[in-house]
Structures are given as C-alpha cells and as structure tokens.
C-alpha cells in the first residue's frame, strides 16, 4: 500500500513551475473583477514547494502529496491557500490508500479534491470558480479512463476540456469569492481560477508528451 512517487512528483513539479511562471498572467486575470493577487499568492506558495523540493519526503506518493499540501494550505495566502491546500490534502488521502497511481486513482483523486474545495469554500458548479474547470475535467478524465485510453490521450483531451470550460465561465456571474462583490459586472471575463486550471492542465499534457518523447529518444 505505497504507490511510487514517480508520476505524482512529475505532475506536482509541472504545476509548481507553471504557477511560478504565470504569476503575472494569473494576477492580471484576477484584476479584472478581483483584487489581482491570485498569481502572486500561488507563486509565493509554489516557490516554497520548489525550494523545499529536495527535502520533501517521497517515500510514497501519498506522503509526498501530503507534504506538498501542508505547504500550500499553510503558506499560500488569500482564498487560494485553503482551497488548493484542501484539494491537495484530499488527493493525498486517496493516494495513500493506493498501491499504484493509475488512471482510476487519478479520477478518484480529482473527485476528492473537488469535494474538498466544495466543502471548504461552499461553492457549487456554475458559480464562476475553478470548480467550473475542474469538474468537467474530472468527468472527461473519468470517461476516457473507463474507456481504457492511454495517459497521454486522456491528458490531451482534459486540456481541451479545461480550456473550453474555463472560457465558458466568461458568461457566468460570480457568486463566490471577491469577484462576486461586483455583481453582474463579473459577467464578461473568465474566472481567474478556472483559467489557471486550464493553463496547468495544458502544461501537464505538454510536458508529459515531452517526457515520453525523451524516454523514447
């Protein structure tokens, strides 16, 4: 009952690096109807993850994810710290119960993360939050995994789904988070959190294929 850290470590690293690289972009997204700190908060937190990278306990995927989750929950400020931290924590709990992190495990981890975000922040789908990207992604991944597709194919599809879902938040009115204070004015621009999810999944799909190519080459 101790899944290898391999793919999990790879995915976390891509997320952490992308969050740091997209600090300005994510912040700009959040300044349309929010307060502009989203990129800054994520970047500062994931910077700590990268700083402590080599010292993180990687005896198994669950433990590793839990360590990452503790940093995120404890050290990222704003709304994102508790939400992302809870998501990682719930995913870690699933990972701990698995011998191997395969497609079905990934689906379960995504579902646990989503439930964690809902529980922590009280949001539902349709309220213009990162859930509006995450939930369609989880559904898509669940279907493709059930169909037995390979990881790369699943990821490529997830990236397309995430992007479309993020863009679909444009017409929604924010009902959660700071953007909700602007009422109807939140309509007309996509949710920063949802776009971030799309960017991160696109990046994971991308890097995954590069890794495959490198391994093949």
């Amino acid at each position: 009952m101790a899944a290898d850290v391999g793919d999990v470590e790879f995915v976390v690293r891509v997320i952490a690096q992308s969050a740091v690289e997209n600090e300005i972009y994510f912040g700009d997204l959040d300044s349309v109807v929010g307060d502009g700190d989203f990129g800054y908060s994520l970047a500062r937190g994931f910077e700590i993850v990268l700083e402590q990278w080599d010292t993180l306990d990687r005896s198994d995927a669950g433990t590793f994810l839990q360590k990452v989750a503790m940093i995120i929950a404890g050290r990222i400020g704003g709304t994102s710290g508790p939400l992302w931290g809870t998501a990682f924590l719930r995913a870690a709990t699933v990972a701990k119960s698995r011998d191997v992190i395969d497609g079905p495990a990934a689906v379960e981890m995504l579902s646990a993360a989503i439930e964690g975000i809902k529980a922590r922040g009280g949001a539902e789908v349709g309220e213009k939050t990162l859930l509006d990207a995450l939930v369609p992604v989880r559904d898509d991944v669940a279907t493709l995994v059930a169909q037995g597709l390979r990881a790369q194919a699943v990821l490529d599809s997830a990236a397309v789904t995430a992007r479309a879902a993020a863009e679909a938040t444009t017409v929604m009115q924010a009902r959660r988070g700071r953007a909700s204070y602007t009422g109807e004015r939140s309509i007309g621009s996509p949710d920063a959190g949802a776009v971030a999810v799309a960017v991160l999944i696109e990046r994971i799909a991308d890097q995954w294929s590069e890794r495959e190519a490198a391994r093949a080459g």
């Binding site: 300044s31 307060d35 937190g45 709304t79 009902r175 988070g177 700071r178 204070y181 009422g183």
Partner: protein
C-alpha cells in the same frame, strides 16, 4: 509604479519592521508569521484579540495593535488573506487563559484561514472564538452570496472589544460586545481612482477622468457600479442614502460618524465631507456625537473615501471613549 518600495515581495515585512522600530517599547515583531503583537502579550488575565487580513489597509490592522485594542495582527501579503500557518502560530503565541478572540473581516480567504486555524488551535486546547465583521452595505446579503464585507467599520469593533478585554471582560462578554457593535455599524465606500499593488505595479482597474466607482470595498476590486464624478454634496447624499436606511438610522439616533480616507485622498477633503455629512445627518434628525476623520482602513493609494455610521448607546459610547495606545498616532 510610483511607490517607495524596494523588492515588492519585501513590502509587507519592511513595513512591519518599520512599525516595530517606531514602537520598540510597546510592540514586538515576529517576522516568521508577519505578526505584530503587544510586547506584554499574552496576558493571562485578559482575552487576547487577534485580527488578520490582507495588507494594504494600513493603519488597519497592524497599526492598531496596542493597549486597549488588538493584542496582535497577522497580515497576509497585499490584499491576500494571511496563510493559515501564520494565523495558527499567532494564536498559539497569544493564547491566554481567558481565551482568544479572532476578528475576521468576512472575506472568503480570511474566513477559511481563520476557521482552519481555530480548528487546529482548539484541538491544541486553546479557547478560541471568531467574530465576523460585515459592515459594507454595498454588498448584497443573502443566502446565496458570500455575505457582506468587513470594511472601515471594523475600527469600531476593534476599539470596543479592545476596551472590553482591557477592562477584564471574559470571552463571551467580549464576543457579545463585538457582535453588538458590528450590528449597529454600516459603511459605504466611493473610489475616485484605482489603486496599485506593489507587486502588480499598475492600477487594478481603469477609471475615466470623470468617473467614480460607487460601493467599492478595500481590495481594489471595482465597486457595484460606475458613475460620473459629481459634487461633494451629491456624493454625501449618495452615501447617506445607502447607509441610513440600511440599519436604519432614524431621527433621534445618536451616532459616531467616520469619514475614512482610502489612502490617496488628503484629510482636507475628508473634513470637507465630514462637515457636509454632519449637517445632512442633522437635517434627518440624526445627531453626530463622535467624530472620526482620517485614514482607518485603506486600499493602498486609492483616492476615495468611505462613510461609516455607528448607532451609539451609553455602553458603546463608553467603550469607544476608553483610552488606547497604538502605533497609529500623532504624537
């Protein structure tokens, strides 16, 4: 960006260091958790009061730590709720036998960080309660919204609970007082310009030369609607029309009136607004008995002002009257 700043990432720590250096006898700075605390805290014979929120609202809350107000303030980065660890560690450092009161301005991020920290410190055996401040009438308050924000009215809650705690009230009594003051406090904000967070380096929104934002909060997000810049008289009318009917404040009431600057508006304009509001309230039969004019809860360098009313009764009046010694001071 035109700011006095070195590395924007060091903006908050360097400000906090300045506060500590200016008040070496009364305050202590704990850099690990962005914590500014009373040098003599925790005192076991007194409820400890902690407030956290994003930075960028100074003097709130890091400059209102001191005798008669907060025991500690643990801010996050600019406009970002403090990381949960900071809150949790602050609670542990300030734990008192009489308990700890957490003041939270009812934003999702702050709420979650403080809730998580309260859970964890309660598990450690610390007696903790949380009080949410939500005085902003610009936000709709219904079951499907996140509820109203805490804005400049938080000053009155801090002042009242600080005075009560200093006088030895127990945790339940301090909470009762805080809830009572919050329940009679209402605020509306108007921005003339957007603000510029140091790490972003440019204004958070564009506002035309003749436009204002009505119903802004304190985080640089836009308000409820955009309007044309009008005279000070008309602006005060708009503010009073939003605030007075909300509680409502009625003829015969005695109130505290605060005109709070949002960071970029000089005190001359604030006093001008104050005079106008005072007279317009008098015309409605509402008597201003306590006055607060200046900066209490800002949004970085945003030009603008908020108007807060607190309905007074003898208990609240006495608590607001009690002395306090904080970093935000003239002498």
């Amino acid at each position: 960006m035109k700011k006095f700043v070195n590395d924007p990432k060091q903006f908050v720590p360097q400000m906090l260091r300045g506060i500590a250096l200016a008040n070496p006898d009364t305050l202590r700075y704990v850099p690990e958790y962005n914590l500014i605390m009373r040098a003599d805290a925790p005192r076991q014979d007194k409820v400890s009061i902690i407030q956290g929120s994003g930075s960028g609202h100074e003097p709130a809350h890091v400059m209102t730590v001191g005798k008669g107000m907060l025991d500690g303030a643990c801010p996050g980065d600019v406009f970002a709720a403090p990381p949960m660890d900071y809150v949790y560690e602050s609670v542990k450092l300030l734990a008192s036998d009489k308990g700890v009161l957490l003041l939270v301005n009812n934003y999702t991020g702050d709420k979650m960080a403080f809730e998580m920290a309260q859970e964890m410190s309660s598990a450690d055996g610390i007696k903790v309660q949380t009080l949410f401040i939500n005085d902003d009438v610009a936000v709709e308050d219904s079951t499907w919204t996140v509820g109203r924000r805490g804005v400049a009215g938080n000053f009155f809650v801090m002042k009242a609970v600080g005075a009560a705690a200093e006088a030895g009230a127990d945790l339940d009594e301090v909470v009762r007082i805080g809830e009572k003051v919050n329940s009679v406090t209402r605020t509306i904000g108007i921005a003339l310009t957007a603000c510029t967070p140091p790490a972003k380096g440019s204004p958070l929104f564009d506002l035309g030369a003749d436009e204002i934002e009505v119903g802004v909060g304190i985080h640089g997000e836009p308000g409820r609607r955009r309007a044309k810049l009008v005279s000070a008289d008309e602006i005060v009318d708009e503010m009073l029309d939003a605030v007075v009917p909300d509680l409502p404040y009625t003829s015969g009431d005695s109130v505290a009136l605060m005109i709070n600057g949002l960071g970029g508006t000089p005190i001359s304009e604030l006093y001008l607004l104050f005079g106008i509001a005072h007279e317009k309230l008098a015309a409605r039969g509402i008597a201003v008995r306590r006055s607060y004019v200046g900066e209490y809860c800002t949004s970085l360098d945003m030009a603008g002002a908020s108007l807060t009313l607190v309905r007074l009764d003898p208990e609240i009046d006495a608590l607001l009257d009690a002395p306090a010694e904080i970093a935000y001071r003239v002498f």
